[in-house]
Structures are given as structure tokens and as C-alpha cells.
């Protein structure tokens, strides 16, 4: 292990002199994330007519507020911006959002109208699919707008009157109450209930893990380059285990990967206003992702015989997993692709960040564990195969 560290240190000092590491680790992911965020990250107006968002709705409320909300959704749908699937239960809507059948679901809970009209706090829950951040954001802003609307007396009264559920007197009473300082619907609770990752954070996350593959790939390519340059024979002649050579090279990649991801999170928070969620949870996910990706790329690269071969193999894997895992576009929203995406560390990292934003650190733990499991399995394979493959 001491020798692995010696090799890692040497590798770090060699790689630090290579400009490409800064481009792959910092400049490229940030620049692309910035562009993606400007193009795709805004509200409805930016996305415009060409895109339709798939949302689900479960109206268990059966009251006037629920009916009014459905009207609002219908009217947006009639402009072609939304396609709406109606679900019979909150559970069905939640499941549909979770597995990507819809991008996001609105859940209007039982007693919503009563609560709102009675002046109590109430929540329209938005459940978003982690791979559909834009849809989720759209859904959130709709419910947010609705919440603000309900708070004004006008809408409140009109809704109540239109539904015919209230007498004018009751409506006026409700309007009066709605006009007071107590908001009828907590916007804050809408946000807290959603499993949504901030769009800037989403794009930086996806791109940084994509580029992480290339940082990780350097562990094997630098080993193969040492073979070509002749220094590998010295490492093999030295009284150290072959595995500590692989481990040292991987360790260097892990440290660079951690540094790159950490800097990206901090910089994107500062200049793009990205909201990543609780730092401890983000840190756990980053560690998991870096370990998983490094282990995976070491295992993949260990089948190569030349640096070029390793580079090609690793690019194919990086791009394939990036596409599946939702790095470039959140394509994997449903069905087979969604299931397939669960084989990628990319998807688990992004899902973990979404869970973290929605449910705190405990919600992100499953994703962290999956990433660590990938790291252990791929890492063991990689160490053994790459260690064996190490020869002159």
C-alpha cells in the first residue's frame, strides 16, 4: 500500500504537468454545462412550442381546488405544452413518475380543498422523475404559480363559485381569509415534496461524471504508456506487488477525480447558482461515483494492449454509459432504457443527487451504496485482470 502511494504521487506529479487534465477535469464540463443550462435549463418560455412535457395527475381531492387545478392543467395542455395522464390514486401517479412513464406527477391529496378553504396549510405534491429534470421543473413552477394564484382572493373566489361547491357567502368568507396573512398553500412545501435536482446542478453533474470516465481511464492508459516508454520494466523489476502498481495508478485517478468533481460543484454553485443539496450527501455521492467510475474504467482498460486501444475502448464505454445514464439528454425516461440506465454509475449518481435534493441524505443512501457496490465489484475484477495483464 505504501508503494501504491509512492506510485500515485509520482503519477500525480507527472499528470499535473499535462494540460489535458485541466481541460478534461474542469474546463470542458463547466463550459458545456453552462451552455446546456442556458439552452435547456430555463422555464417554459425558453423551451417553447416544440417540446411537450409528459405529466401525470392524481386528483384525490374531489373538491373545488383540485378541479380548478385540473382546469389549469387542461388549458396548458390544450396549448400543446403538456400531455396529461390521469391516475386514480396518489400511489399510481408516484410510481409512474418514479419509473419514468411520466416526467412528473401532480398529486392533489384528499382534503386539499377543505384544508385550503378552511385556511389550513396544504400541499400539492410534485413527484419528478430524476431523469426528467426539465419536466419536473415545469411541473413545479406550474404548481407554484397555482399556489400563488390561489392565495389571491379573486382566484380563490372564482374557483369556489365556478365549482358550485360554495355558496357566495362561504366564498366571500374564504376570500377574506385567503386575503389575510396566512397563505392557503405553502409554496415551500411544494418544493420540499418534489424530487427535483436544480437544472444547473443536473447538467454539471451529468457532464462531470461523463468527463470523470476519461480521468479514470488514465490509470490504465498511463500504465500502458509506461510499458511503451520502457519504465514499466523498472516497476516490474522492483520489489513491489503488481497490484500495487494498478492500485497506485488508480489512486491517482481517484484523487484527480475527487478534486475535479469537488471544484466543479463549488464553481457551479458560485457562478451558475447551482443548488446541489446537503454538502455531506453530495460528498458521499461524489466519492461513490469516483470510486465506481475509476474501478469500471480500470476493469475495462485492462483488456487493452496499447494506450490507443485502451483509449478507444474507454471512449466507447464512456459515451455509451453517458447516453444511457442521461449525461447529455435525459432520454432514458421510460421502459427498457430506464431499466438499462440503472446499470450505469451515471444514472445512479444523478438519481442520488435528485433523491438528496428531495429527501435528504438518507434518501440518497441507496444510490451511494449502489455506486460503492459497482466500485467493489469492478475494482476487484480490474485489480486482478490488470495486475495479471501487466507484463512487458
Amino acid at each position: 500500500m505504501r508503494h501504491a502511494w509512492t506510485i500515485a504521487k509520482n503519477d500525480l506529479s507527472l499528470r499535473a504537468r499535462d494540460r489535458s487534465i485541466y481541460i478534461i477535469g474542469l474546463v470542458a464540463p463547466l463550459a458545456l454545462a453552462f451552455i446546456f443550462n442556458v439552452v435547456f435549463g430555463g422555464g417554459i418560455s425558453d423551451v417553447g412550442e416544440t417540446i411537450t412535457f409528459e405529466v401525470g395527475i392524481a386528483n384525490v381531492d374531489q373538491g373545488p381546488i383540485g378541479a380548478a387545478f385540473e382546469d389549469v392543467i387542461d388549458s396548458i395542455a390544450s396549448e400543446g405544452l403538456l400531455t396529461v395522464t390521469t391516475f386514480g390514486s396518489a400511489e399510481a401517479a408516484r410510481t409512474a413518475a418514479d419509473n419514468g412513464t411520466v416526467g412528473a406527477s401532480f398529486i392533489l391529496p384528499e382534503g386539499l380543498s377543505d384544508a385550503v378553504l378552511g385556511g389550513a396549510d396544504a400541499t400539492i405534491e410534485v413527484v419528478g422523475n430524476v431523469d426528467a429534470p426539465t419536466t419536473t421543473q415545469v411541473a413545479s413552477s406550474i404548481s407554484e404559480q397555482f399556489g400563488i394564484g390561489v392565495r389571491t382572493a379573486n382566484l380563490s373566489v372564482a374557483t369556489a363559485m365556478a365549482s358550485g361547491a360554495l355558496s357566495p357567502e362561504q366564498a366571500f368568507a374564504a376570500a377574506g381569509e385567503a386575503g389575510t396573512a396566512t397563505p392557503a398553500i405553502e409554496v415551500g412545501s411544494v418544493e420540499a415534496a418534489s424530487r427535483q435536482l436544480d437544472s444547473a446542478a443536473y447538467f454539471v453533474a451529468g457532464l462531470s461524471i461523463f468527463f470523470l470516465f476519461f480521468i479514470a481511464g488514465m490509470s490504465i492508459t498511463s500504465m500502458l504508456e509506461e510499458r511503451r516508454e520502457g519504465t514499466l520494466s523498472r516497476l516490474l523489476a522492483a520489489p513491489i506487488n503488481r497490484q500495487s502498481i494498478v492500485a497506485g495508478k488508480s489512486l491517482a485517478s481517484i484523487l484527480i477525480g475527487l478534486a475535479s468533481m469537488t471544484v466543479l460543484v463549488i464553481v457551479s454553485s458560485l457562478i451558475m447558482g447551482a443548488d446541489w443539496g446537503p454538502p455531506l450527501g453530495v460528498a458521499m455521492l461524489i466519492v461513490g461515483a469516483v470510486l465506481a467510475v475509476t474501478a469500471l474504467m480500470t476493469a475495462v482498460g485492462s483488456f487493452a494492449k496499447t494506450p490507443e486501444q485502451a483509449g478507444n475502448l474507454q471512449s466507447i464505454v464512456a459515451v455509451t454509459l453517458g447516453m444511457l445514464g442521461g449525461t447529455f439528454v435525459p432520454i432514458a425516461q421510460e421502459g427498457f432504457l430506464a431499466k438499462l440506465s440503472l446499470l450505469t454509475p451515471n444514472a445512479w449518481f444523478i438519481r442520488g443527487l435528485g433523491d438528496l435534493a428531495g429527501g435528504g441524505i438518507s434518501a440518497a443512501l441507496p444510490a451511494v451504496l449502489v455506486l460503492l457496490a459497482i466500485a467493489v465489484v469492478a475494482g476487484s475484477i480490474g485489480l486482478v485482470i490488470a495486475g495479471r495483464a501487466l507484463r512487458l
Partner: protein, 314 residues
């Protein structure tokens, strides 16, 4: 006797697919000895020493370093070997000092000792004044010397040098040979491969002549020469040599043959030093006019030619 044996290699075998690179090579090296593997390109020198150094898994045979078996995974014996690979094995982006430090750490050298030893080695290989420049800025000869320096850094019991002078300017080459002689005089055992006959003759206590994966003959230079029955050759350019003079020359003791050709004579003799004055006396008394004399002592080149039917360098 066995105690002083630093290296004992027996029956080494290695094939790459259909190529039988090494087919049963054996040799041993004792403390203070410099053993040469002399053979042309492709003879199996690098493959042999790669097995000796634990870089390459052998198909058969045994390597004992100080009595311990060497394999690709044995760490103890590897600590005892300093390898200087045929191809440069240095990091061009690091300075000489950084290169030495890194490899010193891999051999678990204690920090204080390492610092001291790095300076010593820089001195030995003549790079002290360029120690803090990147190796990529060095001349070919300087890179070679750094390559050697790394090999002897951790004071190995056996220093293995694989054709260390290939592609080196004469000055650096001489410096390299001198430092090998110096190390040997300090008692370090050296395994030296080369296809330069003169290097083997100058440096090596014993030489193994290797060709096509086999050691064809082994011994000191004298032993090898005697083994193949080689003789000194005296060439005399002279006029007016009578038949009687030739007869008298043939009767001299130690002369095996005398063959005249127009204007010159060639004598094959056991010892040129003993025969030459006698031969001159005979020619003088027979009134032959001698214009030049040359003596050729047999060398390893001739031995190699005799053993394999081909020249060392082609």
C-alpha cells in the same frame, strides 16, 4: 563456494509462440565477478536476463538469487537485483534527482540514506551538475548514464546491465565501461550483456557465448580461445624467402603451419610472443627482406565465428 554464488541460473527456457527464444540457458555469477553474455541481436540475451530479474515468467528452469528462488512475484530476490534495461527506463519529465528518488522509494530505501545515496550515484554517473534538469533535456549518453544510475541506486548484490552502451557516443561509452569496472572492483557482481566483443573482453571475468537461445561455450577469454583450439596468427611481408627458410620455420617449436603466398607468409603458432623472435632470426639468416610484421591474437569474435559459423555483427 555456493555461499559466494550471487546468481545461479539453470536450464532457463522461454518461448514466444513458435519462437524458442531461450532453450536451456545456465550460468552462475559469484561475488565480485562480472559475467558477460555475448551474442548477436536476437540471441536471447534480453529474454534470459528478464527471467533472471523476475520480469518474465519462465517456461522452465530455475533462478536462485543468493539461494532464494526468483519468480515474477517474489519480492525478496528482487530487492537484491539492480536492473538496467536495454531500452531507456527513465521518466523524461522528471529530473535525474526525481527519477532516482522515485525508484529509491520503490526499493524502500530509508529517507536519509536515500538522500545521501542519490548524491553519490549522481556523482558516479557524472550527472551531479545536471541533477535538477529534466531528463528530456539530456543527451543520449546522459540518459543512458541516468538509466544505469537508477539500477545501482539501492546497492544491489547483482547489477544487471542489458547492452548499456548501444547507441552511445564513444566518450559516454568509455565513461560507462569505467563505472562498471569501478563497481566491480568494489565487489558488486555484474551481469553484462553485449554484442560488442571488445566490451566483453575488457570487462568480463567470464563470458558466455550465446546464440539462438543457447550458450555455445563459456569460460574466461583464455579458456574459450583454447576450447576452440585457436592459435595466434603471424603475418610477415617479405621478399626473397627461399624454400629452405620455410622448412626451417616449420621446424621451430610451437609453429603449426607456414603458408606462403606471393610476397607474404602466414604462420599459425601457439604463442606469437615466443615464436616471433625466432622467426625473425631465421628469415634474417636466410637473407629474406622483411618489410612488415603483424600479429593477430585470437579474440572472442574468432571464437564466435568458429562456434556458430557466422560473425557477431552482420
Amino acid at each position: 563456494m555456493t555461499n559466494s554464488r550471487v546468481l545461479e541460473a539453470t536450464g532457463l527456457k522461454k518461448s514466444f509462440g513458435d519462437i524458442h527464444a531461450v532453450r536451456g540457458v545456465s550460468f552462475h555469477i559469484s561475488v565480485g565477478e562480472t559475467y558477460g553474455l555475448l551474442g548477436p541481436n536476437g540471441a536471447g540475451k534480453t529474454t534470459s536476463i528478464s527471467m533472471v530479474s523476475g520480469l518474465l515468467q519462465r517456461d522452465g528452469g530455475e533462478v536462485l538469487l543468493d539461494g532464494q528462488s526468483m519468480t515474477t512475484t517474489s519480492l525478496g530476490p528482487k530487492q537484491d537485483i539492480g536492473l538496467v534495461p536495454q531500452d531507456l527506463a527513465i521518466y523524461p519529465d522528471l529530473t535525474a534527482r526525481e527519477n532516482l528518488r522515485f525508484f529509491g522509494h520503490l526499493y524502500s530505501m530509508p529517507k536519509a540514506e536515500l538522500v545521501k545515496r542519490v548524491d553519490e550515484v549522481l556523482e558516479v554517473v557524472g550527472l551531479a551538475d545536471r541533477a535538477n534538469d529534466r531528463a528530456s533535456e539530456y543527451s543520449g549518453g546522459m540518459k543512458r548514464r541516468l538509466n544505469i544510475g537508477i539500477g545501482l541506486l539501492h546497492r544491489p548484490k547483482l547489477l544487471v546491465l542489458d547492452e548499456p552502451t548501444v547507441g552511445v557516443d564513444p566518450q559516454s561509452r568509455n565513461a560507462i565501461l569505467e563505472s562498471v569496472e569501478h563497481l566491480s572492483s568494489e565487489g558488486m557482481a555484474v551481469l553484462y550483456t553485449t554484442h560488442y566483443m571488445e566490451e566483453a573482453e575488457r570487462l568480463c571475468t567470464r563470458v558466455g557465448i550465446i546464440d539462438q537461445g543457447e550458450i555455445k561455450a563459456e569460460g574466461t577469454r583464455r579458456e574459450l580461445v583454447e576450447l576452440v583450439g585457436q592459435q595466434d596468427r603471424i603475418r610477415i611481408t617479405a621478399t626473397g624467402v627461399q624454400e629452405s627458410a620455410l622448412d626451417e620455420l616449420r621446424r621451430l617449436s610451437g609453429v603449426h603451419s607456414v603458408s606462403p603466398s606471393d610476397g607474404s607468409l602466414e604462420l599459425l603458432v601457439a604463442d606469437a610472443g615466443a615464436v616471433l623472435p625466432e622467426a625473425m632470426r631465421v628469415l634474417g639468416s636466410q637473407h629474406a627482406g622483411v618489410s612488415s610484421v603483424s600479429v593477430e591474437e585470437p579474440d572472442l569474435e574468432a571464437v564466435f565465428l568458429h562456434l556458430t559459423g557466422k560473425a557477431l555483427r552482420d
